[in-house]
Symmetry: C2
Subunit: 485 residues, 2 copies
Amino acid sequence: MSKDEGITVKKNDDFSEWYSQICSKIELADLRYNVKGFVVYRYWSVKSMKKMYVLFEEALERKGHKPYIFPSLIPESNFKMEASHVEGFTPEVFWVTEHGAGEKFEEKLALRPTSETAMYQMYSLWIRSYNDLPFKAYQSCQVWRYEGKATRPFFRGREFYWIEAHDVFSSLKEAEAQVKDDMETTKEVMYEKFGIPFIFFERPQWDKFAGAINTYAADTMMPSGRVLQLPSTHLLGQNFSKPFNVQFKDKEGKMQYGYITCYGPAISRIYGAMIAIHGDDKGLILPFELAPIQVVIVPFMFADTKEKVLEKCNHIKKELHDFAVEIDINENYSPGYKFHDYEMKGVPIRIEVGPKDLEKKQFNVFRRDLNKKEAVKEEDLIREIKKIISEFTNNLKKKADDFFKSTISEAKDKEELKRELDKGKLVKCNFCSNEMKGVKCAETVEKDLQGNVRGIRHDKVEKPNGNCIICNGKAEAVVYIAKSY
Amino acid sequence: MSKDEGITVKKNDDFSEWYSQICSKIELADLRYNVKGFVVYRYWSVKSMKKMYVLFEEALERKGHKPYIFPSLIPESNFKMEASHVEGFTPEVFWVTEHGAGEKFEEKLALRPTSETAMYQMYSLWIRSYNDLPFKAYQSCQVWRYEGKATRPFFRGREFYWIEAHDVFSSLKEAEAQVKDDMETTKEVMYEKFGIPFIFFERPQWDKFAGAINTYAADTMMPSGRVLQLPSTHLLGQNFSKPFNVQFKDKEGKMQYGYITCYGPAISRIYGAMIAIHGDDKGLILPFELAPIQVVIVPFMFADTKEKVLEKCNHIKKELHDFAVEIDINENYSPGYKFHDYEMKGVPIRIEVGPKDLEKKQFNVFRRDLNKKEAVKEEDLIREIKKIISEFTNNLKKKADDFFKSTISEAKDKEELKRELDKGKLVKCNFCSNEMKGVKCAETVEKDLQGNVRGIRHDKVEKPNGNCIICNGKAEAVVYIAKSY
């Protein structure tokens, strides 16, 4: 059972404290592990994260990806083969240097911060001809990054849980199509099933994945008014296939380098975004498919009627056998305490069953999407529960959509941009460029306004209609700017 | 598609070479990764291993275990808290000592070789009173051990995939009951679903888990006549709860140390055992529930009848929607080539659909458990397929049982023991003791006969009826001895 007092701060008053309480009082995560930056994840969050993994994996496999397991250790020499990759990732690497009673390895081994340099040498052995392409593989694993910024459970830690899909194609065009398909997968799973809204941005050239031609990343807004990066997909082109010699014989018999893409939904971070977006002042609200318990039945137990009440509970449970239903028969806690606890934990639906309900042939049903309790006639019960189930995640989605839309604004000049950023908005504005020549203005945004340029929208074409909001030079791009984590 | 020539050696002629070919030709594993001891697992094996994980996790959760995620890095000081644990595991630890461009950590961090020393400090924070017990948690993860012995895919590598369940109880009796329940779980999953027979032995005191009171381990026999250790469960008692301060307030308000057990089914190793036990000279044979493709439909495609044939294939697939069914429409390979390939890969059932079959209204059905092809009338097809499915894994189990039983023998004296060991048997004999005082005789067995004492059976009581087979002193135990990996 969770802490008695519940969440003691309102989400909109102090999001950061609210989030901390959510993580500790609902026992989602524990920060007291004695290695800095490493978090213990407890069962209520792990159960949902496992479901998230399954849903992403199903989507990836449906689209032709196959699961692999690659080693977590990467030799330093592999790691150094792509110049910008090593430059970008070196500061974040954990190095294994010895074993046993202090015997040194001849070569240092990196704990994978991402697996390009582990996987592509194997691709080079497996891929021979155009017949082997497209080659689509993924692995579900953890990665390690020596982060300097403060640890936040799910959002940021030095070990996090993700899926990485790495695909090889025989043409740039197909690789580009894959990048679009990764965005579509993100929508199918993260939006449709988890109810998390986002926009995919083409990241500015100064902020792309180390080694990529282009990075496309899904951004969502946190209730704190800060932007959070969710899955990103990278067009690597031939940048890695050349050093790792991923070649294929084309239809004309000529050797060519493959075109590579990679896609990385970080499950632990998506979980964090989900609880931040859907939760309310009472606690968690979980999309129906992700809830560890989907329907809880709370009996009122008195000595003389207990048997009959439990019989009814079991009957209801049986009728809902397609769902994760639990009957809470713990007699150490009162029904009232349990109501509060399950609401805090985000169990979607609660059915209350007492002796009076049996007499009246109707039951109180509580739904966490609308925080509403209603009496339902016995003969309508199962139908009504199924109706709530069918509406549940959509209701969460609608609320999340409304919030996300409300955070998007526009600015015509630097002062307005500052005002909007301070209000916690994702601000559209004219900008000199999303290419390297825009980096100076981006630095100004960072320094003067603590804002971060997220790039240009990928889902629609937006043409600048004025000059750069910072340097007043010719604007070649419409970018979005927000404060970020 | 797999290598054309198939498996070129018979399993009983040269098991080791057969196993290597199985792993490489069916593309289950790749040993060419450039860190010694680390193996890449490819999709055909990973798909089955994922199913194995789910089946074990389901059983553990049904029995009250909850999933957790603990960090993979353990500070050296934690690791040193239980004296025999550190002694046993130190030689096998990989150490993370630096990050970034060579900055040293103040304290070395171990890549977990097992998670007692990561988890129990958290248990000490979470467990307060007898009300919190039993506390049952598991994590599915990889562990790293710097193994000296030769790498064998699935059987032995320096990074392997397992589940570890760690439970705390308020009494030794409950902990002992858990150990029995772990054995039962092993039977429910590994025997009933994977068809792997085994015996649980109480390991000799000189061969127990570092830090345990007692270790119970499931042994099975490989076709090579060597014994292989599968899941083990350990009674840790209060050996770890004392240094890690896992205490609870009992019903009388007194503080007591918890009694701990841990259970570790190594999924990758179990997969290895499974393919070794069920496979035959053609290739893999997979238990029905674990096959990535359960039923493959191979159409004979000719220009004029292709449409009709594929229509029938789709119809059959639809009727078998509860199973993983694939229609192989690849026109680069002949049906005959495909038959061979799917048999090698261990797809349980194949249905052949050609224009003549449509006319005759009957289809050839091949089943991999009996390696038999039969013509089945159209109207009986689905019923027949379901019948095969219901028999399939049982047939594998029966064959495996017969083999396992055939490997168990008995010896009266050292010469007979040597003969039986050389024949590849698991040999029952009188032995001075399973306690520490038996260690000398065990060393003799190791040195003179290359045999390994596996301990006393846990599933039945066997009383010695003579003197120790080695020292001829009073025998206090009946042990089993085998050559091991």
